[in-house]
């Protein structure tokens, strides 16, 4: 059943085998995105995928939507232009933790602040996959990476706290292990008017595991499963107890006015305030 849906969305024109390593979580996340779009009954023609650069950002090449594979970190900025120029389109951004939060960090907070109707899915593996395992802005302190041979000394961003504080209407976290929950959150995000951020904890069994001795995909998946707790559960734990946990759930679900809608109102106001002759 799930496979039937996915097969309807794979690009008919070549592009396989894909670039991802065996056991990479990115395929699971892409599959959840496709199922969410499908279950909302969105048309393939009017759903645009936009991504940056990274392993995760390669996703749009495989599925049959109009797609813009942009430059590193800029996916939300490209997507903002698409949505502004044609607000009828459903725009879904695929980004990595490096892409979306490091080089794209500024675009990330400003897209949240504008609350433009875009859904961004952050494929969060806490490492730079594509460039060989350097530390990312979501890597935990003391984890290892190609550029953190003595352990990472930088504190990570909490993607959901950041998005909530910056003003996004819908903010949630799921994991590649919890694929059904993930699909549900992406679906809610796309249905929501305004900016939606879905932070997805996903395993990189090649590079993250190499530097952190995290085992094979199955070991990483089990670890994700065992460390996952709900927001309600997290509220009962001390900071020290939460240290290693993955807190999943909906962090923000609200209805601040959406940007393209506000702009349409502005257009009406502008037209009323100026007579045609004054135009040119």
């Amino acid at each position: 059943m799930m496979q039937d849906i996915i097969h309807q969305y794979l690009r008919p024109s070549k592009k396989f085998p894909h670039v991802w390593c065996p056991g990479c979580g990115d395929g699971i996340v892409l599959s959840a995105i496709v199922r969410a779009i499908h279950s909302l009954g969105k048309s393939k023609n009017e759903t645009v995928l936009v991504s940056g650069i990274g392993c995760s950002s390669r996703a749009p090449v495989y599925v049959d939507f109009p797609a813009l594979h942009g430059t590193h970190g800029r996916a939300l900025a490209f997507a903002t232009g698409i949505k502004m120029a044609n607000p009828e389109l459903t725009v879904v951004v695929i980004t990595g933790d490096g892409d979306g939060l490091a080089i794209g960090g500024n675009h990330f907070i400003h897209a949240c602040r504008r609350n433009i109707d875009i859904t961004a899915v952050v494929f969060n593996n806490s490492i730079y996959g594509m460039t060989g395992g350097q530390y990312s802005p979501t890597m935990k302190v003391n984890d290892y990476g190609a550029t953190a041979p003595y352990g990472n000394i930088e504190r990570p961003f909490d993607v959901c706290d950041l998005a909530s504080a910056a003003g996004a209407n819908f903010v949630a976290r799921a994991t590649a292990y919890h694929a059904i929950m993930l699909e549900k959150f992406i679906k809610m995000g796309i249905a929501k008017k305004g900016l939606s951020i879905i932070d997805v904890i996903t395993p990189c069994p090649t590079l993250y595991s190499f530097y952190n001795k995290a085992g094979k995909n199955i070991d990483m998946m089990e670890s994700i499963r065992d460390r996952t707790i709900t927001i309600q559960k997290a509220e009962q734990l001390s900071d020290a107890e939460k240290e290693d946990k993955i807190v999943v759930g909906i962090f923000a679900n609200r209805d601040f006015p959406e940007y393209t809608g506000i702009y349409s109102d502005l257009m009406e106001r502008a037209k009323r305030s100026v007579k045609d002759e004054e135009l040119l």
């Binding site: 024109s13 936009v50 109009p66 900025a77 232009g81 502004m84 120029a85 009828e88 675009h107």
Partner: protein, 374 residues
């Protein structure tokens, strides 16, 4: 037809509206900000949209995204912002996205001289983004020409599926002069070529006779993949060296085939001259005056005003320099266009520069001092 007084930057905004621009994304920077300000006012009135992005990188990305939906798009900036735009100007070259970038030059490098003029981005406008690429650069020297060339910039970007840079400068951007605005139906507007085949048969980067692939709008039923990675005709990334060479050859070919439309120059007294001045932008205004003064003194000077800076008008310059004794290249930098002129002239006659790089406008005396010694 309307006659009115207008500032260069305002004329640019009005030219954009007439050309059909319906989306602008930018970030404020002197001396270009009036363009954004004017468009924030005008665009919503004509059903267009304006956005002030968080920086110039984002502005450039936003106009590319908007262009893919079928919209005519523009951004405007100066020095530091022009540097930031280079990343996605390269993307627009690679993915062949029609878009217009206005650079109202100020002195550099870095923050440089924000409120003073320069022509220091002549080379950056051609080679600012990394890698082999093709790009069109136009240069206005009056308010009227700013209006007209903004429209030309849109037409060329739509026709050749390429970013087009309008390289103006602080003087032209901030001066106020009389402009004649034509009736909109008198203006020739070019819209990008759309696919005539069904979505199933559409190749987003097809090798066509003219080298320009038809471009489908996102949302119109054509589902294709756009990338900054080198790609084949399908739009998907490729590492096949034959394909890499083929697409780069096509980019070159479309520009060479289009030269007749793209290369614009203006010649004054070049039929009968001993000395040739080659100038562009606000320096060309000054050079025009110099030619007049020199002629009054009985010296046979001619002027070639470069309206298109890139692709560089090699053939025209080569032809005109066959019959003169010397070439003078006045510019507001330490000598950038002169390198190109020297390359074309190839040593057959002397080429001398007149260079001002103190933030002040080129004055006729600056050029006259040099030519009086000839």
């Amino acid at each position: 037809m309307y006659k009115l007084m207008m500032q260069g930057n305002q004329a640019c905004a009005h030219g954009a509206i007439v050309a059909g621009c319906r989306f602008f994304a930018g970030y404020p920077i002197t001396p270009s900000s009036e363009i954004a300000e004017e468009l924030s006012l005008l665009l919503p009135l004509v059903g267009g949209r304006f956005i002030q992005m968080e920086d110039e990188i984002a502005s450039m990305a936003a106009i590319i995204g908007a262009s893919l939906t079928g919209c005519k798009v523009m951004t405007a900036t100066s020095g530091p912002g022009f540097s930031l735009k280079q990343e996605n100007i390269g993307y627009a070259c690679e993915a062949e996205i029609p878009c217009v970038i206005i650079n109202i030059q100020r002195g550099g490098p870095s923050t440089g001289s924000p409120t003073m003029t320069s022509q220091e981005d002549f080379m950056q406008s051609r080679w600012g983004t990394h890698g082999d690429h093709n790009i069109i650069v136009l240069s206005p020297s009056s308010v009227q020409e700013t209006f007209e060339l903004t429209i030309t910039a849109f037409n060329l970007s739509e026709k050749f599926r390429t970013p087009v840079i309008l390289l103006s400068d602080e003087i032209v951007g901030h001066m106020t002069e009389k402009v004649i605005l034509p009736d909109p139906d008198e203006v020739k507007i070019y819209d990008r070529k759309k696919p005539e085949v069904s979505p199933q048969d559409y190749l987003a980067y097809q090798f066509t006779e003219d080298g320009i692939p038809p471009m489908a709008d996102f949302g119109s039923g054509y589902r294709y993949h756009v990338t900054g990675l080198i790609h084949d005709q399908t739009g998907f990334p490729t590492n096949d060296s034959n394909e890499i060479k083929k697409i780069k050859d096509r980019w070159m070919k479309k520009m060479i085939k289009g030269e007749k439309d793209i290369i614009l120059t203006e010649s004054i007294h070049t039929d009968d001259m001993d000395y040739l001045i080659i100038a562009y932008g606000s320096s060309a205004r000054c050079a025009k005056r110099v030619v007049k003064i020199a002629r009054e003194q009985g010296k046979k000077f001619g002027l070639l005003k470069l309206t298109t800076l890139w692709p560089f008008p090699d053939q025209i310059i080569s032809r005109l320099t066959d019959k003169v004794k010397q070439v003078i290249v006045p510019e507001m930098n330490q000598g950038q266009a002169i390198r190109e002129v020297k390359r074309v002239v190839g040593g057959k006659i002397p080429v001398v520069g007149v260079n001002r790089y103190d933030g002040e406008a080129m004055k006729p005396e600056d050029i006259l001092t040099v030519i009086n010694k000839l």
